[in-house]
Subunit: 208 residues, 2 copies
């Protein structure tokens, strides 16, 4: 069971590493489409999504608003007040689905973590949030494993490419166009993005 | 149960997309270290590894030798002769472990597939090889799903980042240095590779 899924989200000027291929307005719309996909996946896994946003945005979603610079601080102020288990899920995981999130929340350990591409942390599930704190940015995956171990909490690393594949760079969009089924894939296709084969791996191309 | 794991392998001049950071000799040694990691993971999953190599190489491993250009043809000549289920596992999956491979071979469906980064196919498990054929290169993941469906075979896509993360490009090595535990990680570290933080994701750096 997963009562709450907290989803950090930045509505204004997100995903700046995609600036070469998407305008600011497009990045904002793309980020919102990904958020909708993540919310939908969380609900499929029987979690109640709560968006932890850097500012209030127009939506029916349950929102907590925090300062951009203070994601760690904001989450670390919330965690000690939480009496139940909690899931923290990044908003840029459009390949997330109910099955992959359920594998996380079904852990037999105290904490379950899914690493992101390049050393980040995409998902953390903790059964006793009072005993844990977060330290995002940089190589946060190894930091979170260490935090759990220092607190005497057992950790399971969940092996999921759907939850591992965050959307930060152009090559990440390839995976969304291959494996995505939701709004963010449709949004990119609507902008003219498609797959293009070259030697080796497939890349994305955009028709304007 | 998994009687045989066929592992395609190219001993000479492999992994050319890593040429900017590894010499040919280093790429050959790195590819062999990855093969050893994959063989070890296959054995942990109770599979018997058979290397399908493009030439004979010095090793105690069971080897079948085929022409480089004919991987599809070679495999498609072997498959109809196989009476048992079979696993085909790429040799550049150094994050593979027994648990991830067992998730593949435990499928309830006729065929299980793990997509690689950028649209390839990293692992295929088939219960009745006579009914299947392979079509590697390009966006082979979607081709293999289509081949199974045309043959009336049910397909499970296994959600594993350990088996999804093939080593073709420099950024892939980041995942090996973070999550690897075997010989290929040690090989890279012995060459002076380590993780380096920059804005956003971690990259690899090499001290000479």
């Amino acid at each position: 069971m997963c009562p709450h899924a907290m989803i950090p989200y930045k509505p204004k000027n997100p995903k700046t590493r995609l600036s070469a291929i998407l305008s600011q307005e497009e990045r904002e719309q793309f980020a919102f489409a990904m958020l909708e996909d993540v919310v939908s996946a969380a609900r499929d896994a029987m979690c109640s999504p709560v968006v932890v946003g850097t500012e209030l945005f127009d939506s029916d979603l349950v929102q907590i608003t925090v300062k951009d610079a203070d994601l760690n601080q904001a989450l670390n102020e919330i965690l000690p007040t939480v009496e139940q288990n909690i899931l923290i899920l990044m908003a840029d995981l459009p390949l997330a689905d109910g099955a992959s999130i359920r594998r996380v929340t079904a852990t037999q350990d105290d904490v379950a973590i899914v690493p992101g591409r390049g050393g980040g942390t995409n998902v953390i599930f903790m059964k006793d949030p009072k005993k844990f704190h977060v330290d995002y940015y940089g190589t946060s995956f190894s930091k979170h494993v260490a935090i759990a171990k220092e607190a005497g909490l057992s950790v399971e690393v969940i092996d999921s490419f759907r939850l591992h594949t965050d959307m930060d760079e152009e090559d990440d969009l390839v995976e969304l166009l291959i494996h995505g089924t939701g709004r963010s894939r449709a949004y990119l296709e609507g902008l003219g993005f498609s797959l293009e084969s070259e030697k080796g791996r497939v890349r994305v191309a955009r028709k304007r």
